[in-house]
Symmetry: C2
Subunit: 251 residues, 2 copies
DNA sequence: CGTTCATTTGAGAAACCTCAAGATTGGTGG
DNA sequence: CCACCAATCTTGAGGTTTCTCAAATGAACG
């Protein structure tokens, strides 16, 4: 039993969800019953919020798919997060009252928004909400760190394979089929997210297909079949040939 | 006025700190008065906590310098965070009850640890503590995203310059002198953090010194003088020559 | 059915890594 | 206090990965 659960057990039933899918459903239900929620349907390209905009609300994706883009003052831009159903958005705005990134829908979906102040107030009555919030922020931090690990320690081909594996896992956790996934991003967007050019993404996908780790749908190169997710992991390991990559061995 | 301030104003005075240095002092004072805190002196190389260890406490650095290392199952390791006085540690353990990374002291310092459960309980009486916690987590997310931006969009030399600039800024925010900084990391550790080899770090520093953007102390290549922090920013811009770097232009 | 965008693939260039040698530093024990 | 040892750092040369530039193909949309 972890810290949050015991902390909240005294006043509220602990989270019972066993799978990620159940956890998401429970979380959305709790929020809906505890807070006034504003729903918004978004379409590909729509902006959920923008960097610099005053922060007042947090958001949860009920459906769809969203990218989070970090912008530098000099114009550099970087996709720093990809989000699916059940993911929270907007944490980066808490610290200084303004969002730090753009959040852009990549697909039709529904976003639930609620006042951060109202959430904090609701947390007093239902501490389990606080648990949910903290777990979501903690997971976000963990995901970001895993991204850094991949960016710094994997060669381009392995990074693409890792990307596909993570995508498949995100679908799997949400109870969706993972043998066939539809990337809702261009090669350029994938490349930006993975720190490589669109050509390198294309070549990596071609090599993965040549090795039969993935397969393209007959028409449309954005539909990718993944016969065995384990093959992706094996491919990643194969990229490194048992040798530590750049800058790996610190001690 | 941001969301947290208004959310907590009704029951507790909002944070008054204007500078980061004051904010840190206020935060440490509040925690000390609200919670039983366990203090621990650490020395270079000491482990604050390890990946996999059961999570029950959060930590704040009162002094010293700590690196956070993310480990992959296959042995890859990545420095994903560098932390100074006032920084919180251990957020990544909240989500699943186990820390996700190693936290290792790079220097002599003092760590304050306190039970996460106790903190949550204290937050009920002093909502300002909740504000502090959320702001710290939010800042951590923002920092991670800035790291990703730098890793993916800056060439090696600029990444090293950016690293020095961030270090100087961290010192500056804590009221320390920034014209001379002592790196408490080897070139290998810096390289790991920045996603490059130790030789590339060394060459980048040499080039920065050649361009008089930095200067080495007479003896000891870990003491670095930064005459003008703006020169580092100018160097970073110069690395890109006004042209967008790899994978930058998504639209 | 043409236009536009996305994707693939190739060839050459650039950035970075690997390997290697030598120099410097910091610590340790005599 | 000095000499030595181990670790760190610097620098060079050559190789590999990835990027850049370019052209052709494929797909989507009105």
């Amino acid at each position: 039993m972890n810290a949050m659960t015991s902390a909240t057990a005294s006043s509220t039933a602990p989270l019972s969800a066993a799978s990620t899918s159940e956890r998401i459903a429970e979380c959305m239900g709790l929020l809906r019953s505890a807070l006034p929620i504003q729903r918004r349907v978004v379409h590909a390209g729509d902006t959920l919020y923008q960097a610099g905009e005053a922060f007042s609300h947090l958001h949860i994706l009920n459906s769809g798919f969203v990218k989070v883009v970090n912008l530098a003052a000099d114009g550099r831009e970087q996709v720093v997060g990809l989000h699916f159903r059940g993911d929270w958005l907007g944490f980066d705005g808490i610290a200084d009252g303004h969002y730090g990134c753009d959040a852009i829908a990549m697909d039709t979906g529904e976003v639930w928004s609620f006042s951060y102040d109202a959430l904090l107030r609701a947390c007093v009555a239902k501490p389990v909400l606080l648990t949910l919030l903290h777990e979501a922020m903690s997971r976000e931090i963990g995901r970001d760190r895993d991204s850094m690990l991949a960016l710094c320690t994997l060669p381009a081909d392995a990074r693409v394979a890792d990307f596909l594996r993570n995508w498949a896992q995100a679908l799997s956790e949400r109870g969706l089929r993972t043998d066939q996934i539809t990337l809702r991003m261009t090669r350029a967007e994938i490349g930006n997210y993975l720190g490589m050019t669109l050509e390198t993404v294309s070549r990596a996908l071609s090599r993965l297909a040549r090795g039969d780790v993935i397969r393209f749908a007959e028409k449309g190169r954005r539909e990718i079949q993944i016969p065995k997710v384990e093959a992706l992991s094996a491919f990643i390991q194969g990229c490194m040939g048992g040798v530590a990559p750049a800058g790996a061995a610190v001690h």
